[in-house]
């Protein structure tokens, strides 16, 4: 059992220092796709945190109880389990929390194909995280994704009002913004030097 400081390190490190979006390039589709408005960004982030937590538990279960003797089936079983879990969660949400379901809308099914989800399951496996470590890793990854999304959305809301050269408008500009955000996040690496 890891101690408290180790667990906090896992949470913080994946949230800011090794941010999934800005330093691992995972989940770039929603990062550029739904970062137009802050409200949408927050909801997408929340949906992501939720699915990441479920995935972490599912991956831990698969790794601990089923895949010990068949590591070559890891990828296929991860993909199938993630896709079906998201579907089940979706059905449950529609029945139990219709308001929340409508809020999340199209984002929930789309999250299945988000590379951050599969990335989390694979990183967790490679680093041999236990149950609690996995949960905190997923929470940190989700919070980090949300942070990046909301920052991006706030910058884009401001940039909409400024006079950008026609050449750079659109995707090129978004890449530059992401680059500067990524550069800023590199500064967090100093947090853990001691």
């Amino acid at each position: 059992m890891a101690d408290f400081a180790d667990l906090m390190w896992i949470l913080l490190s994946v949230m800011v220092v090794n941010n999934f979006t800005l330093s691992y390039f995972l989940g770039l589709c929603p990062f550029f796709g739904v970062s137009g408005r802050i409200g949408t960004a927050v909801r997408m982030g929340a949906a992501n945190i939720f699915v990441l937590l479920i995935t972490s538990v599912a991956a831990w279960f698969l790794n601990t109880y089923l895949l010990e003797n068949a590591p070559y089936l890891r990828l296929i079983s991860f993909i199938v389990v993630i896709a079906s879990t998201v579907q089940i969660v979706e059905i449950a949400f529609r029945k139990l929390a219709p308001v929340l379901f409508r809020e999340l809308g199209i984002f929930l099914p789309l999250i299945t194909t988000n590379c951050a989800i599969l990335g989390l399951a694979i990183f967790q496996t490679n680093r041999a995280y236990g149950f609690l470590e996995g949960i905190l890793f997923a929470l940190g990854a989700g919070l980090g994704l949300t942070l990046a999304l909301v920052l991006m959305a706030s910058i884009r809301e401001r940039v909409e009002l400024s006079d950008v050269p026609a050449l750079a408008r659109g995707l090129a500009l978004n890449f530059f913004i992401a680059g500067f955000l990524s550069l800023a996040f590199m500064g967090f690496a100093g947090l853990f030097s001691t």
């Binding site: 800005l22 330093s23 691992y24 390039f25 995972l26 770039l28 589709c29 550029f32 070559y72 990828l75 296929i76 993909i79 199938v80 896709a83 579907q87 979706e90 059905i91 199209i106 099914p109 789309l110 299945t112 194909t113 988000n114 590379c115 599969l118 990335g119 694979i122 990183f123 490679n126 050449l167 750079a168 995707l171 090129a172 500009l173 890449f175 530059f176 992401a178 680059g179 500067f180 990524s182 550069l183 590199m186």
Partner: protein
Amino acid sequence: MPGHRASNADVIRGTCHATPALRPNASRRVGDVLGRGIWRENPVLVQALGLCPALAVTNTVANSIAMATATFFVLTSSSVLVSSLRRVIPEEVRISAYVMIIATFVTVVEMVMQATMPTVHKALGAYVFLIVVNCMILSRQEAFASRQPVPAALVDAAGTGIGFFIALLMMGSVRELLGSGSLLGVPLLGQGFEPWVIMALPPGGFFTIGFLLLGLNAWKQRKGRGESHAHRAVRRWPHAVVSQTRQEVA
């Protein structure tokens, strides 16, 4: 749940442009399909698909080549298999079936890489597995391979794969040259060059693709200006073309 399937499929279809039909024995069509994948609808630079590997593993040329080759293999094999199974796979579960097929080929690539090229395998790390969720591959299955015969699907997949290869090679060469002053590990810029380390780090990926897109936009704009020589004619000989221009306006 037909609703969910439809929404997933719509999104994937939405990311792809209209696909011209490919008839057998028509070399012009083959060239057309190849050219579309390689340049006109380049998966990375034009459609912005498969960004995750295009940014994550292009810090050196060698890594870019390894990733692009692996993706090329997965894409062409999946397209051929999906195309040959297109009458067998039921409509309702087709996306899941495509993902399973892609995941199988990725597992093959991963195991071959681990056995034959351990250093490359280590450098690419988890990103080899993440080829599964490269939306470029899934979109080619949904938009082309699932409704075209095997040879056509192979040509389409090869074109897209080469387009991906070119994009990754461009990213990798810029980032390795500026980030460590070398290409494929061979130092090129001499002793006086101070390596621009940031280009090999994550922010460099974002900046490089940003500049590539800027260059592409500028090139397209210049090409667009070249085509509108009719307007220049109006400026030079207004009387000669004024009637024609009026017709165009009307």
